[in-house]
Symmetry: C2
Subunit: 222 residues, 2 copies
């Protein structure tokens, strides 16, 4: 193994995994997190993709013991509704933000990389068009790497190859790599069918429309 990649089972991270294996000829270990998200079904997608590619190591980290921390997010709490896309446009910290989630995931991934003696961590941060989280930006990544560069022995570097991509760019990349998007899950709401209205559904559908393809998963709205 030569790296660690964080794979949620969503479009971006699954495309990233396939990109690293098929195009970059990487041999990554995969890390996935169960933090009580309503859409835990994405974890099954992560497992399916890992099996498909014959990945050697997949660590699923269960964070549910500290779910009290993450319960302030609409992605976890049953008391907070998942907002629709129009409710989050222009919001610099929508209700779907999970407290310090990306820092925590990346800290785990770097720890895993150090223990495997590899010096690259990849994650699927991607510049959203309509709303955004503070911990998915190029500036966030640059400053975080400034911290990790202080490690005096085999410092790990974090890379987000899609950070400047739009969702449509990610999809185009994935299509060229023959990614099976039926085995990915984005919807925050955690129902049988994707809701089609939450921020991540809206972005996913927009990307498929831009690329001129039909999303293979089922939606509750037509």
């Amino acid at each position: 193994m030569d790296s660690v990649v964080i794979v949620s089972g969503g479009m971006d991270s699954v495309t990233l995994l396939q990109f690293l294996v098929k195009r970059e000829k990487r041999d990554p270990a995969v890390m996935t997190f169960q933090y009580g998200q309503k859409h835990s079904r994405e974890i099954d997608c992560a497992k399916a993709q890992v099996a498909l590619l014959g990945i050697k190591a997949h660590m699923v980290v269960d964070l549910r013991a500290t779910q009290a921390i993450f319960g302030t997010s609409a992605l976890v709490s049953e008391d907070i509704s998942i907002p629709n896309i129009q409710d989050v446009v222009g919001d610099n910290q929508p209700a779907t933000y999970v407290p310090n989630r990306n820092m925590l995931f990346l800290a785990y991934a770097v720890a895993y990389a150090e223990s495997l003696k590899v010096n690259r961590v990849f994650y699927g941060a991607q510049a959203h068009d309509l709303y955004g989280y503070w911990d998915t930006t190029p500036e966030f990544l640059a400053r975080l790497n400034d911290v990790y560069s202080l490690n005096r022995k085999d410092a790990v570097r974090i890379e987000a190859p899609f950070v400047q991509y739009s969702k449509a760019d990610v999809l185009r990349t994935g299509v060229s790599l023959e990614v099976d998007y039926a085995q990915t899950w984005s919807c925050y709401a955690g129902q049988d069918k994707a809701c089609g209205k939450c921020p991540t559904c809206a972005e996913r559908l927009k990307a498929f429309e831009e690329v001129g393809l039909v999303d293979p998963i089922s939606y509750a709205v037509s």
Copy 2:
């Protein structure tokens, strides 16, 4: 509550907790980590100190499910001996280093702080005299705060009030605050009595000698 403080149960973090409560009149929530360390006895000390001060919230985070990650450290692995102090002087990453431990602890503490809607995290990093870890320095802290300052909503700031202190300075502070050092544990080795030889025992004993006091805990060597 107005902050989160990471307390291992060692000298530095216990002194920090008492300093925050008694001198700074803070009302902190406490966070402690069980990561499979041989010296898990320190956790009992953390609990004792928390009880003593009437702290309102104490979250003990159990990381043992991912112990495979931390098992490359002498603090965790039964296959790696705890080095003596003379073996680590001048080593920029001794065998007692735990992969990315401080980043992980701080990521949890910041997540906890965000969920409590408080914007300060404290930890007991302290500039060692004889050896050091990359993730306890003033530069590490400054760069990490540069990352967190990007959070657009109620950004958390991390502070390490003792970062420029020697261990003797910490002890002097604690003595003035009437800290009960019998209820602290430093030794890495995890035996009934402190070994007196490991890096943290050596530094602790040196600090007591400098301050002209006798350490109240029992040592295997005289």
